[in-house]
Symmetry: D2
Subunit: 314 residues, 4 copies
């Protein structure tokens, strides 16, 4: 372990909306406080689960301004600066800094095609324009580039990057990253974006996790991290099995696929659990309804996040 403040459970914060599809400040504050009270070690705003792709710049910075005020230094705040290519990302970096965040999270360039030279130059160029801690966000399912572990560690040693959020799903590559980072003196904080294989990532040597599912059950993820720190691997695995079964809620959705099924199921569960006031989504995604809601409720009741005899909210 290093003395970096970025470790442990750092949920990517899901955004509650009102019926009119505006930021629901009341639910936002409730959900943030619920996670901090549960003991999370940080919060990540404007990630993929945090609707970053769906928000105008004005909406993004409204979220960030409110988030920083609500968190009020209780835990570190990380902010996604997600945009297509370097100059647009640098713009986001400058603006996010102005809102008082503690670290920035950037993907490789996307949309235009490039190669490893462009990816590496991209992160170096961002560093030239900001002094905040910078995490690389490895998310090939959205970005269509897999970040190379050797390049990441090189950028760590050069002071360009301070960490990685690995949502690649490529656990072999993550293992290379852990070992190369260790050999280099641990310049990078390595956070797994897994939700259902966090136990294996901790065993492999991850410094923390960024699970969207922690919006629903922050308690279990916090307990799991503590168990991992204590070397109680049977408990780590037991909690993971519980969380994996809870994650089934994303597998029962039939109306759509992708973000609408995944984050849509999270919002629906948080609504049914009383944390959110609605399960509204941003355009062009539609809120889940009917049978999908019922199926999600069944999963969260089975996992003990909702009373077995509680009625379905409409």
């Amino acid at each position: 372990m290093t003395d970096s403040p970025f470790h442990g459970v750092i949920p990517p914060v899901v955004i509650p909306l009102t019926e009119k599809k505006q930021l629901d400040l009341e639910a936002f504050e409730r959900s943030i406080n619920r996670m901090i009270d549960a003991g999370v070690d940080g919060l990540f705003f404007l990630g993929s689960s945090g609707e970053v792709a769906f928000l105008t710049d004005a909406q993004r910075y409204h979220v960030l301004q409110e988030a920083v005020a609500i968190v009020n230094h209780r835990v570190p705040v990380l902010a996604g600066i997600i945009d297509m290519e370097t100059l647009r990302v640098v713009d986001q970096a400058k603006r996010a800094k102005g809102y008082g965040v503690d670290a920035l999270v950037a993907t490789a360039p996307f949309y235009a095609l490039g190669g490893p030279k462009e990816t590496e130059r991209h992160f170096r160029a961002i560093r030239e324009h900001t002094d905040l801690p910078l995490f690389a966000y490895d998310l090939p399912v959205c970005v269509h580039t897999k970040l190379d572990p050797t390049m990441l560690v090189r950028l760590g040693k050069d002071g360009v990057l301070q960490g990685v959020k690995d949502s690649s799903g490529d656990d072999v590559s993550f293992r290379w990253l852990v070992l190369e980072n260790e050999d280099a003196g641990h310049p990078l904080q390595l956070l797994t974006g897994h939700e259902v294989c966090v136990d294996g990532a901790y065993l492999a040597g991850a410094d923390g996790s960024v699970p969207g599912l922690a919006n629903l059950d922050p308690y279990s993820y916090v307990e799991q991290w503590k168990a991992a720190q204590a070397g109680d691997w049977n408990r780590v695995k037991e909690l993971q099995d519980h969380l994996a079964r809870l994650m089934f809620l994303t597998r029962v959705v039939k109306a759509t696929v992708g973000f609408g099924a995944g984050v849509g199921a999270f919002k629906t569960a948080l609504w049914q659990m009383g944390v959110f006031n609605t399960n509204q989504m941003r355009e062009p995604v539609q809120a889940l309804e009917g049978e999908d809601v019922a199926a999600i409720v069944e999963v969260i009741k089975k996992a003990g996040l909702m009373d077995a005899d509680a009625p379905i909210r409409k």
Copy 2:
């Protein structure tokens, strides 16, 4: 043929930069005038070749403001409103309209994962916020979604879309699109994004083309369109073979891949031909150098776009 003003050769305009990587207004005007004088039927700004992904919003609208002023109604101006998801695209649409463009060009949503429902809703949501003609931009290599011909024609019949720029490289799908569009009464203007198979697309029934290579040789593309209109297919093919050989300039680059090799080669050729003053690129892409420049010069000399004994510009 319909009476739509959007047909024939509509080049996606490549952006010249100064040594300091700023918009080179002098070269921009020269290049635009050169294409209009050659007889192109329209100009498309802020497309993929037009660096849309690489520009901040401020830079995008600087390009658009200057473009509209230089073109000055001589030909229709189409503007890319390229961003990740619906609300961001709507923002771009509103802003682009304010600059006086004649049509908008939007891709499917990207970054967040979605399905066909979200794609169709996306275009309908854009239409709810603008009254300008709207083209769907089918570019799976950047957007990672292939637009379904049947959906496109349905959106055409419903007045949501007025045309398609097909850069999918999927000529079978383009054929379905042409036939279904014909059966529906031709609601869509169908433009191919091909550079080296424009002849086949015209034979199949395309209403025009959007070839980046027309920045280099607008004359041949204009002549090719006229030959196609006249049914002189041997001439159409002959010009295509010339243009395909010219396109080899993107195949000789060794330093990088993707945008840096493709648009990088276009800029390098335009610089060597004296249309541009440099071959500068936006971050994180680097300008081509040395052997790559020499190889590109060899191709354009062979194609007759540069005197055989002209020296290489440094």
Copy 3:
């Protein structure tokens, strides 16, 4: 044009089965004769449409033995020697030669991962073991490797390959292949595997086509080839539009996808047209039924391949 015997329309022969899923010799002979009588320039057996992946070796060579006997030198016979890696393909090559075929058709290696070195060595190794004309079969949708045009022409100049069947759907790459082949003195016969963009491929310079749809309508493909030879491009396009509309029969299938929908629709049409006695498929694919059959019949009636008032065969 070269003096190679491999040019013009060379259908990949679809295999008729009895109710018990055995080779239906009567229908096989009828279908082959129908295509030869229509004027096709060759026949390709054991291609992807010809069930090569679905047949045991014993079944493959039963097909080939009967095919060679039925064709009886009226047109050249090409045989697919499709298997995973080099030694298995060489085995197939030796065996196919024993049955008296006129040319062999091989893909790149598949299943095990390799790179361009292995692909090139593969074709050279096959050549070391056979003296028959050899075609490379470019079919990335099945083989997951795209053959590089420059490599193909190099293998042509070296006498390893005598032709290419391009089913890549990548018409830009096909154009590079045509131009590089021309520059090298035309060592390769270039056949397009397109069904609905054959007109563009002919205009680009293809030496022929291998359309599965020619099993249904060999007449139109033969007339199209003749029109192309005569430079009557309007007729070429007109026939293509007819054939493209006929190809809609593969787009109306709902029960399954892939081979079962594509070749399944071909077999269903041939059955309904009275050329085949059933529409049986090999395991694990199931024959199309019910609504899918009705939808296919509607397409072929509209295209004039079946009388408008003919009943659906059961």
Copy 4:
């Protein structure tokens, strides 16, 4: 744990060749005995690492005949029956059974495109023709289909499958599989094909592993399995880190990619360690040479599998 004989460490056996690229029986026996003496729980022949794609049928059954004789019932023998589609796989199944193997391992169909219906029917059709235990081999990198966990468990409950070898690299899907299999009463033995994330798979509940790297270091994998059974997760992870660093030998190869780099590096290491007499490969793959051999030797020396001062074999 069930009472199935298929659990623990079951290496996929790498095949040694003579200089003339024939099966090297002496080295084959030495390598097999070395693994059995180290305590492995089974051996898997004719898997992807076992050159199944590269061997003619005659060569495949030569390998199997010798393997069964050498193993001589000391551990269970699993045999790959890898071929393109159902009837070819059934042929392989019948033949493999004749050689006295204890279980069969089959992939989904490949080459021809299909959907989930065809995949499920495929496994059911194989079961109709054999009574041996049958494992599904999930290897999307070669087969280009990902097996669905819910389908696999359904086939387990129906007695079609007795186990799964999961080489998908998709650890989330593997977790679903473990949980659904548990809920169904553990009909399937679940073996991970991981080499560098076996610790996480054991923690998740895998019944064993099939690591190619165990050809080099069977001792560590056997010890790791025992440590996992004993719940000594720190030791499991420690051994995994050692094995992961050993696996770097596949990352230092520069001459090629894929099978030639991966299995090529394994063979080169086994040759340098004195287990194999050469590092020969089957066509079209070439044996590694020069700098690649030196780099591999460096890795295995660092991992303690070769004396630090031992010379490189030529």
